[in-house]
Amino acid sequence: MNISHHFDDATLMAYSAGSLPQGMALLVACHLHWCEHCRERVDATNAVGGVLLDDIEPVSLGEGALNDLLARLDEPEQELAKPVSRPSASAGQLPAPLAELVGCDIDELPWKRIGYGVRQVDLDLDGPGATRLLRISPGVSVPHHTHTGNELTLILSGSYNDEVGRFCRGDVADLDGEMEHQPLVDTDEDCICLIATDAPLKFTGLFGRLVQPFIGL
């Protein structure tokens, strides 16, 4: 995969610190599955956490903490119920963390039409903001919008163009409130993206203000 758009350092630091909302952490994990470059960068942002752990002022433990734990070391490990991943025609199309979560093919998802040429699946995860899959038809452009918080987009298939550049499978757009953009699907293939936000989007044009109640992005 030829990936040319990556995360901001600040986003990977938040991922390492464990402070991203669930959907954004999912999206970062998905990109990391595809992107060796960002995996190496995460080694470095994790290392900040390691250094801080070394520097932290240690606190006292409960009485017998070590002995309690030593007594548990030989306990048989409980197998966590792992979601069974089904091999399928489009196996490999979705990054593993997402495939595990949705448990089916892209085409089997309950896509809902939310406007002209745009369908979505809300993943209904915890936390502020939203996490959804968008499926945008060729030639369709998403209304102009800005962000009050951060918006991460991972391209799962197809491509789009916006003010920043061209985004293809594996690329991420890492945007914050300073950016206004209007993605346009630029091939004859649907563009399917995973989008995670930590605050609601703001649409700027008249059309945007009209569709916002329906899209609810």
Binding site: S16, A17, V48, G49, G50, L53, D54, L61, R72
Partner: protein, 206 residues
């Protein structure tokens, strides 16, 4: 060779510490010792090695969990779970990829996230990769981390502050912005600046 009093430090791993060493060299020695200890644990499954690791890391992991906002009893419990994972997953520790401190930090962080999302599907972690010793030079990353430690100590206060709020208190960038009364963009640019300084300290491949 001069030796420090072996009973003097909290780290018996660094019993032999020549006076001439800089603080950076001493840190590196301590760090390498714990990485070596964790590697030995994976090979030998020796509980005395585990007890040594526990003595150093458990009070730090608990301190970290308390800073994330957990009450004492929860922090103690999650610390126990994290340290149990150290024992169970030691064979996955890859010294060429991270130091023991970084590896244990990520286990503790994941445990704290699991705790907060108890009833949700877990997918946060990357699949466990078996160590690939050929991938990088041994110890490369622990050298990086020693330099990073020096660099963190010299960050301007504003940058150190956002770094601490993010990593130590698990605050999101928006929460930090609100707490400090600065725009979200400033939080992110301070973090970027801090990180680029840390990277500059570890040299050419940054």
């Amino acid at each position: 060779m001069q030796k420090d009093d072996a009973g003097g430090g909290d780290v018996n791993a660094a019993a032999i510490t020549p006076q001439s060493m800089t603080s950076e060299e001493r840190r590196k020695q301590v760090r390498d010792e714990w990485s070596a200890c964790l590697t030995r644990l994976a090979e030998t499954r020796d509980k005395t090695e585990f007890a040594r690791l526990f003595g150093y890391f458990a009070p730090r992991v608990k301190a970290y969990l308390l800073r994330l906002g957990m009450v004492d009893a929860t922090a103690e419990e999650v610390m126990q779970e994290a340290m149990l994972l150290v024992w169970r997953k030691a064979h996955l520790f890859n010294r060429s990829k991270a130091s023991a401190s970084t590896w244990i930090f990520t286990l503790a962080r994941n445990q704290s996230i699991d705790r907060m999302r108890r009833d949700k599907v877990q997918f946060y972690e990357l699949p466990e990769e078996e160590p690939d010793p050929d991938h990088r030079d041994m110890g490369e990353h622990s050298v990086i981390e020693d330099r990073m430690q020096e660099a963190i100590a010299t960050l301007p206060e504003g940058q150190a502050q956002v770094l601490h709020l993010s990593y130590y208190e698990g605050k999101s960038h928006s929460e930090i912005a609100e707490q400090l009364g600065i725009p979200l963009g400033s939080v992110k640019s301070r973090l970027r600046l801090a990180f680029s300084k840390l990277k500059a300290h570890w040299g050419e491949d940054a």
